[in-house]
Every structure is written in C-alpha cells, then in structure tokens.
C-alpha cells in the first residue's frame, strides 16, 4: 500500500539523492490579486527534489499567501505552478495534496476531536482503497489496510517520539506537540514537497533546536523537498540550503544563507533604510 519508511541515510544515499537535477516545484510568474491589490506578484522559484528552502520576509509580505497559492486554497490569477513537471492548473486543494504537496498551518488546524493516531491515519485516506461497504461489513480489506495504517501511523509518530500519545485527543495536546502532530499528519499523505508554515512559532530555543534536527531528519529519511516559512533566523540560516526573501508580495532576494545575510535589499526590508550620512 504505502512504501515503507526509508532507513536513516547512509553517505552513499546522498549521491543518489542528488542524481535527479530537475526541480520538484517550479513557480513561473505566479501572482494573485485581492480586489486590485497584488498580494503576490511575479513569484518565480524552483525547488530541488531534496532541498530545504526558506521563505522569509517581514509580516504581511505574502508568505502564507504563497503557500495558499501552491496548495490551491486560493486560485492564482496569474502564472503557472509545475509540480514534478505537471501543471497544477484546475486542481483542487485535495488533488494538489494527492499530487504531492502537503502543508502545515500557521494557526494550528488539527482535527481536535479525533485522536492523535486518527489524525495521522486520516491523512493516509488517499492511499487506502477499501470501500464504504468493506468498512461497514468489516470485510478482510478493512482489517488488512487498517492494520497497515495503524503501524505506519505509529512509525511516523515515533519520529517525534509521539507514539505513546496515539490515543490522546489531538485537541488536548500541548501546543508544541500539536505543531509536531501537524507535521506528522502532513508526512502521512506521502508528499514529495512539504510546506511548513512557521513550524517553530511559540517554541523555546531547546524545542527549536530539536525541531531543526527533526526537519533535517525528515528530509534525509523521506528524500523529500521542504519549503518553510520561519521568523526564527537562527533556524532558517542553519538548515536552509536556499532562501527566498519576500517583501510586498515580490521576491527581493534569492540565494544561499550567506548571500542573504549580506544582501542590502534584505537588510533594508527588515530594518528600514539607513539615513544617508
């Protein structure tokens, strides 16, 4: 049903990972208008298959809007999104997810009345095949797939050491655990691109450090691309291989963490223009 979890990376895996040079995601001149106001404009970006990319920028720059465009929560008014070379035009949010983009939300959106395990198994729905009648009459297909889903859910939860919370209601988890559960849920859909919207928001430095490790671990284990929005510069500069800076809906800089840190346009966007001496 699903591919088994990939084992932890060995050095020889890394070469294999870099073999395919075509990007998993390409945005070409992407843009959206809200009542005449261009919230995002001329957004061009390509993300490699196993790349961790950061999307940063001041508040209100349009970062979450980019995520909403990629996942078709908003339909772009301009431009093209190519996922693994295929145009996602006309796809719905659910279809985009099944095509390979999974996301987390800035304001946590869990299924609060479901258990932690159910939150994860529900995300495997598209990969399960038994029909409504097998479910009602408990035919063999039901038992087989449910057992695999159950095991897979525990396996995924154990990435964040959450397997023992499987029967807890998601709504009653502490904040940090809820953020982690959102990531696990997104992973359960078997994505090729994972979008993380402020994963470290509200976490203390030691939690952030742990999260950083886990994001790397996820990329290495699953061999997927990750695009993340984050205000914690320490996290961004440490784990991102490429960074794009957004301001007023436009990309003002792209490059490696080192390039971005010294880019005058970025400094201006964050700190304001320095007075001429």
């Amino acid at each position: 049903m699903f591919p088994k979890l990939v084992p932890m990376p060995s050095p020889n895996l890394l070469t294999e990972r870099d073999a395919d040079k075509t990007p998993i995601l390409e945005c070409i001149n992407l843009g959206i208008n809200f009542g005449g106001l261009a919230a995002v404009e001329n957004f061009n970006m390509a993300i490699g298959r196993t790349e961790i990319t950061g999307l940063i920028g001041p508040n209100g720059a349009g970062k979450t809007t980019v995520f909403n465009l990629l996942t078709k929560v908003y339909q772009p008014t301009k431009g093209t999104i190519l996922l693994d070379g295929n145009d996602t035009h006309n796809m719905t949010t659910a279809q985009v997810n099944r095509a390979g983009i999974a996301r987390t939300f800035q304001n946590i959106r869990l299924f609060n009345d479901l258990t932690v395990e159910e939150n994860v198994t529900v995300a495997m729905n598209a990969h399960m095949h038994y029909n409504m009648w097998s479910g009602i009459f408990r035919l063999p297909g039901f038992w087989k797939e449910e057992r695999v889903a159950h095991e897979r859910a525990l396996e995924l939860l154990s990435i964040f050491n959450m397997a023992d919370l499987a029967d807890t209601k998601a709504g009653s988890l502490p904040y940090g655990a809820q953020r982690r559960l959102e990531i696990v849920r997104a992973l359960a859909t078997n994505p090729s691109l994972l979008l993380l919207d402020e994963p470290a928001a509200g976490m203390n430095p030691s939690e952030t450090a742990e999260l950083m490790e886990n994001i790397r671990k996820i990329r290495d284990t699953f061999q997927i691309a990750i695009l993340l929005i984050e205000h914690d510069m320490n996290l961004v500069m440490n784990i991102c291989e490429g960074i794009a800076v957004l301001n007023f809906g436009r990309i003002i800089a792209k490059g490696t963490p080192e390039d971005i840190q010294s880019n005058p346009a970025v400094i201006e966007a964050y700190l304001g223009k320095q007075k001429e001496a």
């Binding site: 869990l110 609060n112 529900v122 729905n125 009602i136 057992r147 159950h150 997104a186």
Partner: protein, 356 residues
C-alpha cells in the same frame, strides 16, 4: 503488534448493542405477561423508528457536523414508497416478513435517491444556510406527497400528480378490484399494517451497525475530519463533497428504512405527520443524547417518546411540561458549574463539539 488493541469505542459500541438487545428482551417479556399498558405497547414500533431516526440524524448532525432540519422529509419518502411497495407486492410476496423487509429496503433506496438529489447542490452551503435548505426540502416533500395519487390494480401501478387539487383517485382509471394506496392530502389509507416490534428491533440494530462501523472506518474518519476542520481535511487530500455526500445519503437511507417501518405500522398516514415539527423532534433527541453519541440518541429517543405518554396525567398541560423540561434540560446541561460537576462522574471526557 499484530492485532488492533481493544479501543475505548469498541467497548462503548458493544455495550450499546447489548443495551438494545436487553431492552428488546425485557419489553417482549413485559408485553407477553401484560404488564405493559396498551398505549405503551402501541408505541413500541414508533419508538424503534424514532430511535433509528435519531441515530441516523446523529450521523449528519453529530458526526458530519451539518445541521439538518428536514430529516422527517426522508422519513416521509421512505414511508410512502415503503407503503406503495408493500401494498403492491401483496400478491407477489405473500410472506409478510419478507414483504416488510423488501418494503423497508425500497423505502431506504428511495430516501437515498432523495438524499442524493438534495445533497448534490445543497452540501456546498454552510451552517445555517444548509439548515434552512434542509428545512425547505422537508416542506417541499410534504407538499409533493400531498398532491400524490397512487393506486394499484392488475395492470400495475398508477400514479397521478394532483397539481390543481381537482383530481381524485378515480382519475387514475384503475380496473375493478384496484386499490387506492395514496390519496393526496388524505394520505395513505387502508394500509395493511405489517410492522412488528421484532422488525423494529432489527432496524435499530442494523442502523447502529451501519453508523458505528462507518464511523470507525476510513470514511468515518474522513467525515469527522472535515467536521473538525474542513480546510485541513482538504489539505490532506480528502474529497469534501464525496464524504459529505456519503454521510448525508447514508443518513437519508437509514431514515427511509425507518420511515417505511413507521408507515406500515399505521392503517392511515398523512404527509403532514412528517412536518417541520417531526424533524425538530428528532433533532431534539440527537442534541439531548449528545452529538456523535449514539447510545445517547437511543435513550433520548425512547425517553422522549414515552414521556408525553407518561405525562397523560397532566392531560392539557403535558406539552407545556414537555417544553419546560426541554428548556430546563438545555439550561442545566450547558451550565458551566454543573458541567464540571458532572464531568467528574464520566468515564471519558465528553466531546461536545459545536456543529454549526
């Protein structure tokens, strides 16, 4: 781990089935030794129907989280198509239990079709808008059945639609010996009552079986996920329309089966029986029993159907008392102080989720 662990819900489900079985056995004993009053004996089949209506509505309101104010409409569709089926199959299927079963299946199928027709456009709407449209649908069904003339003779079924109110059953042009099944505003009269308490018991068990197993399958998880957070559900690849339809149509079909049994319990039945007030009555069962809580629905349905009977001593005041009881129960169960007090006695935390 090779086997799934026994979950909390498995135990609750088992106890629910067991409770229904015990209730059935006890009622049968009471009935046979004459302890049960006549009026209460007459209520047994309707109680089963209402129990099953409550469980099926709980699928829409509690599990799917959409407010429906027209559930009685599906009951109506099931009732009248079930009556037509049972009456016209009298010669073809002489065995009564089999005919009853076939009538209930036809009732369920007809209601499922009605559910699909209503659901296709309507499930795009949200919250109170969906509520008003289901309400409108219930009223439409009532009016349409009121205009319906159906008869059966040796040449088969005859149907006419009495748009202007000028047609009568004679306009069907039936042969000698034909029977009138539905006579417009007079409703179905002269129905052979073939409903039994045992059939009612089986209906409740089947309804419970379908709803509980659906709830604990991948479809049920998807349905509850989109109730809890539709945007997140879409983001993990769940087709919202598909699962909303699945819940809605299943709920309608179960209501149709209950309706068919209900219809075949009375020799005369009018469409006005299934009006807005009936839809509300069933909604009251669901809310009092607890959203998503199926055994709660069962108890509430049984208790509130019997309550007006028990209040006969109050004669004129009984509906007033009923209204006051309803308001007081709502006020006390939602009182924050009392809520924390009661939650101490609960086995597990209630999952009271706002549906609208």
């Amino acid at each position: 781990m090779k086997k799934l662990r026994i979950k909390q819900h498995t135990r609750t489900d088992f106890l629910t089935y067991l409770g229904v079985i015990i209730l059935f056995v006890v009622m049968n004993i009471l009935k046979s030794n004459g302890t049960l009053s006549r009026s209460l004996t007459g209520q047994l089949v309707p109680i089963c129907c209402y129990m099953s209506m409550a469980v099926s509505l709980n699928l829409t309101v509690g599990i799917l989280g959409e407010l429906s104010l027209g559930h009685a409409g599906f009951m109506s569709v099931g009732a009248f198509s079930g009556i037509v089926a049972a009456m016209s199959l009298q010669n073809i299927i002489p065995a009564v239990p089999l005919r009853l079963a076939v009538a209930m299946i036809i009732g369920a199928a007809a209601a499922a079709i009605a559910g699909a027709i209503v659901g296709t456009p309507v499930l795009r709407l949200r919250g109170d808008y969906l509520a008003i449209v289901t309400l409108a649908f219930g009223e439409i069904i009532k009016d349409l059945v009121n205009c319906l003339l159906v008869g059966y003779d040796s040449k088969g079924l005859h149907m006419a639609f009495n748009l202007t109110g000028s047609k009568t059953i004679d306009d069907l042009g039936m042969k000698e010996g034909g029977i009138a099944i539905i006579k417009g505003a007079q409703g179905a009269t002269g129905t052979t009552t073939i409903a039994t308490f045992t059939a009612g018991f089986i209906l409740v068990m089947v309804t419970l079986f379908v709803v509980l197993n659906l709830k604990h399958s991948r479809a049920g998880r998807a349905i509850m996920a989109l109730r809890d957070n539709a945007i997140a559900a879409e983001s993990v690849g769940i087709n919202i329309t598909k699962y909303k339809m699945m819940a809605f149509v299943t709920s309608a079909a179960l209501a149709g089966a209950a309706g068919a049994l209900y219809g075949l319990n009375f020799s005369s039945l009018q469409a006005t029986k299934f009006n807005f007030n009936t839809s509300i009555l069933i909604l009251v069962f669901v809310v009092l029993g607890g959203l998503g809580n199926l055994w709660g629905s069962l108890i509430a349905a049984a208790a509130l159907t019997v309550l007006p009977e028990l209040l006969r001593a109050f004669s004129d005041y009984r509906m007033l008392v009923y209204a006051i009881v309803l308001i007081l129960v709502m006020l006390t169960t939602n009182n924050p102080t009392l809520k924390t007090f009661f939650s101490r006695f609960k086995l597990h935390k209630p999952t009271g989720k706002e549906a609208v």
